[in-house]
Symmetry: C2
Subunit: 338 residues, 2 copies
């Protein structure tokens, strides 16, 4: 019989439909292996994120480079404003009503983090130093953007593969800073607050303890981090990565933790690429709002979701997910993949 | 400058990014025109929903047929349990806690409405009587299923095209009855209640009035129904269909309204098929919970969303949508398509 499970944070139910159970090989993947098979070159002349094409992006706002001038080759990582931004940096919010409706100007920031000059790699085969640079660039941009008091929240995410919404092949992540706290984030924070009021404990810390005790949903454990297949996973092979220490804001992660986490993130992608044959995926960094970095009830984490099934009418209509692969099976498979 | 707009019911913000504006021809569509070009036949021997293959589905729970025996040809519309159900009819809920987590058995119903014996048609070129039958079958199944007090909510939806999550080509809709009120539905009802407490009016009735006054987002108006491109549309070419009269439950729609609505639903699909070249799409019937059919603050409606863009990390992480095509443009285009 299928099982209904509830996410304890945002009260979202999912259906774990084990009768429809699917193994990794049952999922279709459309994302080509980015290298190793020679079909994608390390450099593409027409890619705006490759060396030599720096003038095809807006001027960089951050780059890690060894003495070369801005917007020229010689960088290891580059952050640039999105050429087609969903939100724009300049302007006033001008919040207004229109009868029943609320509007405001689309003020915010939309940036692209070009993770490496190499066109044909994935997070799973970048060298660990490069993944560490990606994490540092996120911290650096957060530090800079939170100075603008109009920006309430910074969402960092990665779309990999066209099925996951990527329009460019070159390895990159994105960052969108919004002038409001997004709905999904508020829901999480409210759920966390409710738990904290009852128990005086962070619910994510409680989840970490329960999962460490239970063991069945643990994918990777390091000194400082834990990767789990969450109890109420929405999607097959969904995993969450959490620091064991209570840290509300990603920006307050220590250099030692960043180093530990860079190994872990790379390892998760490597296992996913191996088990699901380079699936399209998204990851989303959930962190506390810009001005609330030390919340006792919030705990930063990354939600990593391979895109191997389609979201359909039932999910859109109800906010309820049908997941054919139980997280206990996912943890077992990923843990054992070497 | 992009504009942020808020849905007045569930406080969901969207970004209308007109700088990224896209016209219908910019969207890629993967759903083949189901007929007219001769590539898809009217009958397929290996389709479980075609005439003669009735034994390939579980026994029918409803059929409109002229005197022929159940589970044989001769039907005009057939409702059968899903062969791979996400929820199952028999059993007890057995709600339980597992530490922080909640679980219950996956009790419910999952049925398929086979809309027509013809394999190669769409809702846009079915004859109006057939669309009317589809609507009657939804009412009939709702009347039957609400007798089971374990079932709290019935979600009717359609996935058309593989990009929208359909696994079978033959025209069909689905129905899932759940033992809880789904998150997205509760959010809507709570939003409606809040408005009702303040104004003593249904917010959907208010939206209808405001849109009729404004006119810019109206796609179709009939005596009894309105189709609008909603102010805070999440997706390009999203439209909502609403009865003008205040009706909380779809089940309480009158025969005259069903007739009017069957023309309207067909017309919406015909316009979408024409403008977007047979896009994959979902529609979701939002109606009141089974035991609350006369809520003064809720108003049934159908949300229709073509799947012409990909949902990516930002949307998953924030619940915030980026929509490149303003609803005012969508209304203009759809209204003018003859």
């Amino acid at each position: 019989m299928p099982q209904l499970r509830k996410d304890p944070i945002i009260d979202r139910w999912v259906i774990i439909a084990s009768e429809r159970s699917k193994r990794p090989a049952d999922y279709n993947h459309s994302h080509l292996p980015p290298d190793g098979n020679g079909t994608i070159p390390e450099h593409k002349d027409d890619c705006p994120f490759c060396y030599g094409n720096e003038d095809q992006t807006p001027p960089e706002v951050l780059a890690y480079r060894d003495g070369t001038p801005p917007d020229t080759p010689g960088w290891r990582l580059r952050v640039v404003p999105n050429k087609y931004p969903a939100l724009q940096v300049d302007g006033e919010l001008n919040r207004a009503g229109m009868g029943l409706y609320d509007v405001m100007n689309g003020v915010g920031a939309h940036e692209v983090i070009i993770e490496t000059p190499k066109h044909n790699v994935t997070l799973g085969n970048l060298n660990p130093k490069e993944v560490e640079s990606l994490l540092w660039s996120i911290k650096d941009r957060m530090t800079e953007l939170r100075k603008d008091s109009k920006l309430m929240y910074i969402m960092v995410f990665k779309n990999c593969g066209s099925e996951a919404g990527a329009t460019l092949e070159h390895p990159h992540s994105q960052l969108i800073a919004t002038p409001i706290i997004p709905k999904r984030v508020s829901e999480e924070i409210i759920g966390c607050e409710t738990h904290y009021k009852l128990r005086e404990r962070c619910i994510y810390c409680d989840i970490i303890n329960q999962e460490l005790f239970d063991q069945r949903r643990i994918v990777i454990e390091t000194d400082m981090f834990l990767v789990i297949a969450p109890f109420a996973s929405r999607f097959p092979f969904e995993v969450w990565m959490l620091p064991k220490r209570h840290i509300a804001s990603f920006r307050l992660t220590s250099p030692e933790e960043i180093k530990d986490f860079s190994w872990l993130l790379r390892e998760v992608v490597r296992k996913m690429d191996g088990v699901l044959n380079y699936p399209p995926y998204n990851f989303m960094l959930h962190t506390s709002p810009c001005q609330d970095e030390e919340l006792p009830h919030y705990h930063w984490h990354i939600e990593f979701t391979p895109k191997v099934t389609k979201v359909a009418g039932f999910e859109w209509g109800t906010g309820f997910y049908i997941n054919p692969t139980p997280p206990e099976e996912v943890a077992e498979i990923l843990k054992n993949y070497q």
